[in-house]
């Protein structure tokens, strides 16, 4: 068996008297391409946010590379397990402000060439870097946000319905980019409702009513 990146045991998440996730137990291998489907409100995003430490489990454990995720320094962990939002918010005023942020939080010098190459990889032109964020389309915003997450390659990429609402061309660009990171060994865990993505999934699981299940159409 390949090395595990996540070993999830008896994961529960409760808010007030509402149990969102029920005793979830699963393992995810390093380099996996896992797709999670399920109805809206079933707990898929909560599961991703727990993996990202944006939420803390009510009970149960998430081992990341064999060690409880809560034992890692949060900042270091989140820079390795990168969560991409469905409708990202861009910061500041320009695209540059957003792409400087990953450098700033790592106390690294801004590498403009690296940023321009990354923009090209999602088919955004170099002069886009000084574009006002208010002038970007939804698809452009999502691609800038994705570049922001990927400027420093993470070990895990958590994608929360990032292709929802994108046109076919932009979806293609996003898929190709993610595929290239997968090829370089990044573990990708994505939540989706997109039939094409579900059909193309290497590993597919379903979350229904906060519980792991076997997808009905398999």
């Amino acid at each position: 068996m390949a090395e595990l990146i996540f070993d999830i045991q008896e994961l529960n998440y409760v808010v007030g008297d509402h149990q969102i996730l029920h005793s979830m137990t699963t393992q995810i291998e390093k380099g996996a391409n896992l797709t999670i489907e399920g109805p809206s409100g079933s707990g898929k995003s909560t599961f991703l946010r727990l993996l990202a430490t944006l939420l803390t489990p009510t009970s149960g454990t998430i081992l990341f590379e064999g060690r409880n995720q809560l034992e890692y320094p949060k900042i270091k962990y989140r820079q390795q397990v990168s969560y991409c939002f469905q409708q990202p918010t861009l910061f500041g005023e320009t695209v540059r402000d957003n792409l400087k942020f990953p450098f700033e939080i790592r106390n690294a010098a801004f590498d403009e060439q690296k940023v321009l190459t990354s923009l090209e990889s999602v088919e955004l032109s170099a002069d886009m870097i000084d574009q006002q964020i208010t002038k970007l389309s939804g698809g452009e915003k999502q691609r800038v946000a994705l570049v922001r997450n990927l400027l420093f390659t993470p070990k895990v990429l958590l994608l929360d319905e990032i292709s929802a609402g994108l046109d076919a061309d932009t979806k293609g660009v996003v898929h190709r980019l993610i595929q290239s990171y997968r090829a370089s060994g990044v573990t990708v865990i994505s939540v989706t409702h997109d039939e094409t993505e579900i059909a193309a999934a290497d590993d597919l699981i379903e979350i229904r009513n906060g519980q792991l299940g076997v997808p009905s159409h398999e």
């Binding site: 809560l70 939002f85 990953p102 700033e104 939080i105 790592r106």
Partner: protein, 253 residues
């Protein structure tokens, strides 16, 4: 000094007509502030009467400990009031107390060091009151701005955290906005002083017969001291308050 200040109890009683006008407008327009207005007027009369007698005693008695006690009471009350604007920010009273005490004491210490005021109750108590009340208003505005921004910009903060930013990096834009909001009235007032308003201290001195050219010197000092006090107060309060919006797991509450 030519002292022309005579406000007799009869004159004050006539001035109540002004309150009646405000109340009448309130009732006619159904604004609903009449109860607060009456409470405000009654409290102002009682509080100012008490403080008038207390100040007379403190100035006459002229003891360092008594002056210090009065300053401490002013700071305590200001902190209590600022806490009321915090809308649930944990430890808001302690944060406000520290911010107001630091801004008031640092500013007064500098003024004493510069020889602008002397450590006598007739100067220290009113100056402390001015500084603490301005710091209190600035901190209250900063709290309100922080609460609004953390609510409205929740997604942006969440994304910064998800990218692996520290709490400070995730909140910097909100803290900056809160400090700006807190200081805005003092800065606006500094910009318009003399052309729109003749502020309290300067007006008081002119009322009391002081040459306006000398009164402005005091007003310039007051403007400087309030700029210092509101910036020190807002910065301390904001930097101590923003971590309260997160839990121990570096997640938004």
């Amino acid at each position: 000094m030519n002292n022309n200040l005579i406000v007799s109890p009869t004159a004050l009683a006539f001035a109540v007509v002004l309150v009646v006008i405000a109340l009448a407008i309130n009732l006619k327009e159904k604004i609903g502030l009449e109860r607060d207005m009456i409470i405000g007027v009654v409290r102002a009369i009682i509080q100012l009467t008490i403080v008038g007698y207390v100040l007379t005693y403190i100035i006459k008695f002229n003891r360092v400990w008594l002056t210090a006690l009065m300053v401490a009471i002013i700071i305590f009350n200001a902190a209590q009031n600022a806490k009321g604007r915090a809308d649930g920010i944990p430890h808001a009273f302690l944060i406000s107390l520290l911010a107001i005490a630091t801004s008031t004491l640092v500013t007064i210490a500098l003024l004493i060091f510069a020889g602008a005021v002397k450590f006598v109750p007739s100067q220290i108590v009113p100056v402390s009151g001015m500084i603490a009340s301005n710091a209190m208003v600035a901190i209250g505005l900063s709290y309100r701005s922080m609460n609004t921004s953390f609510h409205d910009q929740r997604q942006g903060v969440l994304e910064r955290l998800a990218l692996g930013a520290t709490l400070k990096q995730s909140s910097a834009h909100i803290v900056q906005m809160a400090v700006r909001t807190g200081m805005a009235p003092t800065i606006d007032s500094a910009k318009t002083v003399g052309i729109v308003s003749l502020p309290g201290m300067m007006s008081g001195l002119i009322f009391a017969g002081v040459d306006p050219t000398k009164a402005i010197m005091y007003q310039i000092m007051v403007t400087f001291m309030l700029l210092a006090a509101t910036s020190i107060g807002s910065v301390i309060a904001c930097y101590l308050a923003y971590p309260r919006f997160y839990n121990a797991d570096m997640q938004l509450r």
